[in-house]
């Protein structure tokens, strides 16, 4: 296909991606170097029956004029990146200088908002992803062995937790784990502790979010593995049986190696999706004990008086950096394969 025809076919889609994905990334990079204007204060006098007092107030007119002139704010360089709510370079070096032991360093770093969010995001990504693969594999193997009459309904109901929006899905669970909901009350009865609440302690909130993540994504792994199981070559399976392999050995030495590429694919998709975990935190109202990088950005943009564009943009840049680091192995593999082909 000549270049011209290629371009004629692809330009609308390319234009959309450049305008709304590539340019925004540049816009984010630009915004991250700026910070909100300082407030212009005016001192006025208000006189009442008991004398005059001086009052300091924000000059709204001058502020709106300034905002219209320089909408991005004032230039701040990399200042936003290193301040206390992002990389917190000063705070970190101070912590290392003044803390006595490792656990104190850890607790103090975990109190910095960016590192707190980063810790949860990484923990969520690297706890949920393997669990999803394992659980999905188990369900696929088991469903593959039940009578085919059951298979259709099982797949139907399995798809629901995955296809329902994370916000809606997490709300459904959130209402059930409420101490007045069925699961919350059930857990209280099980542990004989009427004050038990999954929302109270940070650890339990983290676990709840992990459980939600596995529940939400396991069906994806299940469906992919199940489709893969249908294509396991019969001959290999039969020769393994002839060689006297037990049921477990057949799974271990035939099925699992055969499904390995699928596991890589699921892991890639899951890493990408779990790294941007965000909606469950809103659904479970868990922001007090668990925040993610995406949630920090959302929160900055939602800030009460005016959105903190600079702060949100700096977190966004750091998140994008994280995504690229996460994807590097995949990109390198694709690059090598591509080079081998040409």
């Amino acid at each position: 296909m000549p270049h011209k025809t290629f371009l004629a076919f692809i330009w609308p889609s390319l234009l959309a991606m450049i305008l709304f994905i590539a340019l925004p990334i540049i816009s984010v990079a630009y915004q991250s170097l700026y910070v909100e204007h300082e407030q212009i204060l005016v001192v006025g006098e208000s006189c009442g029956p008991f004398g005059c007092t001086q009052e300091v107030s924000v000059d709204a007119e001058a502020m709106s004029q300034l905002r219209a002139d320089q909408p991005a704010g004032r230039f701040n360089g990399f200042g936003t990146y290193s301040n206390a709510s992002h990389l917190a370079t000063d705070e970190i070096s101070e912590i290392f200088a003044t803390s006595e032991n490792f656990s104190e360093i850890r607790t103090r770093i975990m109190n910095l908002p960016f590192y707190k969010a980063l810790a949860f995001t990484l923990a969520y990504t690297f706890v949920v992803t393997p669990l999803v693969i394992i659980l999905g594999f188990i369900i696929a193997v088991v469903v593959n062995s039940v009578p085919s009459l059951l298979k259709g309904p099982v797949i139907f109901f399995s798809l629901i937790p995955m296809l329902v929006t994370p916000l809606v899905g997490s709300l459904v669970l959130f209402w059930m784990i409420d101490s007045r909901g069925i699961i919350g009350a059930g857990l209280q009865a099980l542990f004989g502790d009427p004050t038990l609440s999954l929302k109270a302690s940070p650890t339990l909130t983290w676990i709840t979010l992990f459980v939600y993540g596995v529940w939400h994504s396991a069906p994806f792994a299940f469906v992919v593995f199940y489709a893969g199981l249908q294509t396991v070559p019969k001959d290999t399976m039969e020769s393994a049986m002839v060689d006297g392999a037990s049921r477990w050995e057949r799974i271990r030495f035939v099925t699992i190696p055969y499904l390995m590429p699928l596991a890589t694919f699921i892991a890639l998709m899951q890493l990408m999706d779990n790294f941007r975990v965000f909606e469950p935190i809103i659904g479970f109202s868990a922001a007090a004990s668990a925040t993610s990088l995406s949630y920090l950005i959302y929160n900055d943009l939602r800030a009460a008086e005016s959105p903190l564009f600079g702060s949100a943009a700096a977190t966004s840049m750091l998140t994008i950096l994280g995504v690229i680091i996460l994807l590097l192995p995949v990109l390198r593999r694709n690059w090598r394969e591509f080079n081998r082909k040409t």
């Binding site: 305008l19 909408p71 296809l163 929006t165 049921r247 809103i282 990088l293 959302y298």
Partner: protein
């Protein structure tokens, strides 16, 4: 069951069936429970006294004279005007699906048929774009959109969703078009068609299975989106998911939480119907990327 590989001892069969049933309960029960509970009042759905109340509904009976009430739905749909959000969602999803499929088929076809190196780079860029958390992109949109005064309107959101959806659509349709033999359109071009005519006459008639599958996922993306719609739409243009989130802010009042429950169930039901009719296509779409590796 004649194949010896399929024969299993009884305990293993029992174990397998138990796990399947357990998984069924885990996957389906929360939704069925919430659907049932959405016809109760808050005192029953969140019962301090006894969890059985959510099933039998004594408080509902006392208040409305029956075990079921539509009060939650009435509150959400009529009083809180959830129907507006439903109409907005319908507009957004239909437009997103139609536009992104139109752009995606053209682009995906070009990527599948061009042998040049830049197709690889385009596909890799699309992969990286797909991995971008949507909220980072949103933080790039807000300021320019405020400046251009296009913030808050449905068309803006539709175009943004189409663009966010493009990397995925391109990948999926690209691999689908690869599975259509090249000879088909090349034969048409030998017969004197231009590229566009070959695409229109030879490819469009056979591309529908792939387009339907991709369309389902475009639909799901637009229907389920929370990040983009909650940040880019003004109050009166909100779609269903941000509207539900807005309900949550006002749950302190008695009875309001049932509005949110009713709205959540209303948002889930269309998905049930969708899965019911398109289960096969959804499954094949989920595995399409996997088979290619």
């Amino acid at each position: 069951m004649s194949n010896p590989a399929d024969q299993r001892p009884l305990p293993l069969k029992l174990l397998a069936t138990t796990i399947v049933l357990l998984w069924l309960v885990i996957a389906a029960f929360p939704f069925l429970w919430t659907m049932w509970g959405s016809f109760k009042v808050e005192g029953d759905f969140f019962s301090r006294a006894d969890w059985m109340n959510a099933i039998t509904g004594p408080v509902t009976q006392r208040q409305y004279g029956g075990a079921f009430t539509l009060a939650g739905y009435d509150g959400a749909w009529v009083q809180q005007e959830f129907w507006r959000a439903v109409i907005n969602t319908a507009i957004v999803t239909v437009c997103v699906v139609v536009i992104s499929l139109t752009l995606g088929t053209l682009g995906g076809y070009a990527l599948a048929r061009s042998g040049f190196k830049y197709t690889f780079w385009l596909l890799m860029a699309a992969l990286v774009f797909r991995a971008m958390p949507h909220v980072t992109l949103v933080s790039g949109y807000l300021l320019p959109f405020f400046q251009l005064n296009i913030w808050g309107y449905l068309p803006t959101t539709i175009i943004v969703l189409v663009a966010i959806n493009q990397p995925f659509t391109l990948w999926m349709l690209h691999s689908f078009f690869l599975s259509i033999p090249k000879d088909l359109d090349e034969a048409a071009m030998v017969d004197g068609c231009t590229r566009f005519q070959a695409f229109r006459l030879a490819i469009i008639p056979v591309m529908w299975p792939g387009v339907v599958t991709t369309g389902l996922f475009s639909f799901l993306l637009a229907y389920n989106d929370f990040t983009v719609t909650s940040m880019l739409l003004s109050q009166e243009n909100q779609t269903m998911i941000p509207k539900i989130n807005a309900f949550l802010g006002s749950t302190q009042e008695e009875g309001k939480v049932m509005y949110a429950v009713a709205a959540v169930v209303s948002a889930i039901l269309p998905l049930f119907v969708l899965i019911l009719f398109f289960q096969r296509q959804i499954v094949s779409g989920l595995t399409a990327g996997a088979v290619k590796g």
